[in-house]
Structures are given as C-alpha cells and as structure tokens.
C-alpha cells in the first residue's frame, strides 16, 4: 500500500470514528460518571494555562494597538477593539490550540498506551464498547467544557487588556469596560460560543482517533501524541476560517 492509499484509508477511518461517535449518542449505556470526570479533568487541567495565555494576549493586544490608535486620536476605542478580537477570534482559537496541546495530547497518550498494552482489547473482550466508554465520554465533556473555557478566556483577556489600558494609556477601568461591553452584540457572542464548540469537537475527535490507532509500542504512543497536537492545531486553524465563513453567511454580518 503506498502512502497516498494509506492517507485516504486513514481519512476514511477518521470519518468512520466520527460516525460511530454520533451513533453512540443514541443508544445506551451512557457513562454519566465518566463524562463528568472527563469534564473535570479537561476543565481543571486547562483552566490555568488557558487563563494565563488569554490574559497575557489581552495585555499585548491593548499594548500593541493602543499606540497605533493613539496616533489617530482613537485611544478610547482600544477596549472595543480588544473585546471584539477576543470574543470573536482570539479567545476561541487560543483556547482550542491550548486545549489541543494540553488535553488532546493527554487523551492521545492515554488511549494510545491503552491500545498498545491491550487494555482496549480487554475492554472489548469484556463486552464493553470502547467508543462509548472512552471516546463518547470525552467528546461530550469537550463539547461542554471547551466553550466554557473560551468564555473564561474572553473574560480574562479583556481583564488583561483593562490593566494595560489603565497602566499604560491612562484609560479608566470604567470607560474601558463600557466600550468593551457596548460594542459586543449577540452575533459576536454566538460566534464566541459556536467556534469553541466546533474546535472542542474537532480536537477531541482527532486525539481519540490518534490514540485508538496507535501502533508500535511506546514509540508509537509518542508519535500519536505529537501527531494529535499537530493535526488538531492545523484543523482548528483551517476550520476557523470555514466556521467564520459559514457564520458570517448564516448570521448575515
């Protein structure tokens, strides 16, 4: 089998896994406890790093744009600029990529080592569906937790911007906050929620696929983990463009 064929087969497998995940949502058993545990793991594991990266991104955003806006005498709009960029774009994408690196890698490594040590086979041999038990639980947890993390990232990013606006440009926190909130409309919020929802689904789908198809012992686990992060980061960035296109078309903005 040449490389091209292999690639198409793995793409087909990838979509087959997606189809299995969707089907699995419609019949029991449902592993509520595992899903809640996964929500906790994904949320708590990523909370600090997502918060930190968006907080500093907000700070840098205001620092960079503040000077430029000041040239046009539009310094007071820095809050509006920061909040729109964060809510629409940076919050969701940053969260997606950070979670892909933190949680996606973890999922790929965990499922990968379960695969190479025959634990996945053991589950199947005991009559458990590994897709339901391991994949669907993580998928559902991701769908809930990644948008929540993105909202948190938006908030912390605006807060970071607020500090810099006050310290560097002398804009009062009240007026920064006012311009930041006033400019946001319902479409921005819809975009800010739909995007991380899609990214969460994509990154967990990729991570689970990479984990479950791991071969070749511990070396294979390493490969799967790296590939999972690389592929999901790329898919998030490419997907971001298309999600934007679709949302702009649907929301008519």
């Amino acid at each position: 089998m040449n490389r091209m064929q292999k690639f198409f087969f793995s793409v087909a497998d990838f979509f087959e896994l997606g189809w299995k995940i969707i089907k699995s949502l419609f019949y029991p058993p449902y592993y509520f406890e595992d899903t809640v545990n996964q929500m906790y793991t994904i949320g708590v594991e990523s909370f600090l790093i997502v918060g930190m990266s968006s907080f500093f991104t907000g700070m840098i955003l205001v620092l960079q744009t503040g000077h430029e806006l000041a040239v046009f005498g539009a310094k007071m709009y820095v809050g509006a600029l920061a909040s729109v960029s964060l809510v629409r774009e940076l919050g969701p994408v940053l969260t997606g990529i950070v979670v892909a690196g933190r949680v996606g890698a973890g999922i790929a490594a965990e499922l990968g080592s379960m695969k190479v040590t025959e634990q996945i086979d053991a589950l199947r041999a005991m009559g458990t569906d590994p897709i339901k038990k391991l994949v669907t639980t993580r998928f559902l947890a991701g769908l809930v937790v990644v948008p929540a993390l993105a909202v948190l990232a938006d908030g912390l990013g605006i807060l970071g911007g607020l500090f810099v606006a006050n310290a560097t440009f002398g804009i009062s926190p009240q007026s920064f906050w006012k311009t930041a909130i006033q400019v946001l409309d319902i479409n921005d919020l819809i975009m800010g929620i739909i995007k991380p929802f899609v990214f969460g689904a994509l990154l967990i789908w990729v991570a689970c696929y990479k984990g479950l198809t791991t071969e070749g012992g511990t070396e294979g686990v390493g490969k799967s983990t790296t590939q999972s992060v690389v592929i999901s980061s790329i898919i998030i960035l490419i997907g971001d463009y298309f999600v934007n296109q679709v949302l702009i078309w649907i929301l008519n903005i």
């Binding site: 040590t117 025959e118 634990q119 053991a122 199947r124 041999a125 009559g127 458990t128």
Partner: protein, 255 residues
Amino acid sequence: MIEIVDVKKSFGEQKVLRGVNLTISKGKTTVILGQSGCGKSVLLKVILRLLPLDEGKIIIDGEDTSDYSEREMMPIRRRIGMLFQGAALFDSMTVWENVAYPLLEHGKTDDFDEIDRRVMELLEFVGMEDAANKLPGELSGGMKKRVALARALVTNPDFIFYDEPTTGLDPITASRINQLIRRTQKKYHTTSVVVTHDMVSAMTVGDYFAFLHDGKIAFAGTREQLLSSEVPQLREFLAEAVPREYLERFLGAKR
C-alpha cells in the same frame, strides 16, 4: 464447545492463518502449541473477534458467530474470559476495581456487598487479597497476571482463554500460574484454551493439544498422541522445546 472451521486471516500480504480447523471440547483444557509468531494469539483474538475474521466459520456452542457485528459479539464476549499476555489491567483503576469492573459494568446485581464478596473470593483464589487497594503499576508481572485471571473469572464465564500465560515469568511464578490454571479448571469446570510455546506449562495444564504450524493445525490430539506423533515439525518443536526425558517422565506420572 467451539468449532473452528477453515478459518483464514491475513495482515496485508502476510497470511497468518491459512485454514485452521479445530474443535475445542467442553469442560476441558485445550493447549494450542506453536512457535512464537505463528498466529496462536491471532487465533484467540479472531475467535473473540477482537480481530476481524477473513474467511471460515466459528461456531460457539452451536451459534455461528462468523457474520456477527461488533454489537452482536458483545453478549458472546461476556461469556468468555480472556487472560491477555501482558495482563492488560486498567492502569487507572485499583486491583479491586479491575476485578469488579465486569460485574459493575455488565453484572446482574448492583448490590455492592455481593460484588465485594465475589471480588474478594476471586482475589483470595489467586492469592492477591492483600493487594486489593494497590494500583497495577505497583505489582510485578506475575501478580498482574494473577489479578487478570481473577478479573477473567469474576463473571463465571463458560470459556476462558489464556494468551501465553507464563511468558516472561520466572519458573517459580510460572509454575504458580500453571497451578492456578489447573485449579481454575477443577473448581469452575470452564472450557479453557491455552496458547503457549512453554512445554512445561502445556504439559501441566493440558487435556488436549493442538500444534499450529504454517497457519494450519498440523496436529490435534491427546497427551499420548502428542508425544508419539510422527508429524516432523511437531517432533522438531518438542525436541527443541524440552528434553525428551522430561516429557516421558511427565507422561509416566500422568498415567
């Protein structure tokens, strides 16, 4: 009883099973012998359909499972306990949770005390009752296999498959595992299939023997037939595997 009829399995170009025919008798231990990499473990996994079946038929207690889907296989799999080569315990769970898993997941009862009683009974049976709260990472290879045996037995399966139960263990631990397999057989009367290249293990636990060579069953029969077999590859395998005197002494003791 499991009937394996003309089962074929390949991985890409590599033909591993080229038409295996074998009947596994109820309530007995059948040992499948063969060199490493000859497809013994593949055969077990194909029966459980952990690997897809290319061609042939697998009939389990009269039920033809050859065309079964993953979901249709689930109830069949629950009747079969499998001891994996590397034990395959769940790392994230304690020993107790590992053994309790099949009961919690598919058991008929939710009664915690009853599950606990059953789990501790099995852990005692394999001599691991003191390790109930340990994680698999804290156990040695032999201990893991004992826990895995307890997990495989906890649902009282009709069949139990052992994939290389003694590989990678020191002789004393290996002999302990062999004794456990025999005790399991005596106590629970399960139909057992042991895949191994360890002749000492095979001789200790086996009632019937099959020799897998070149993707086919080159020999199937009793202990006596095994030792007097004229199949050249089997004779070669036996000569390499263990000294003749040992086998004959064993044969004498068994008679």
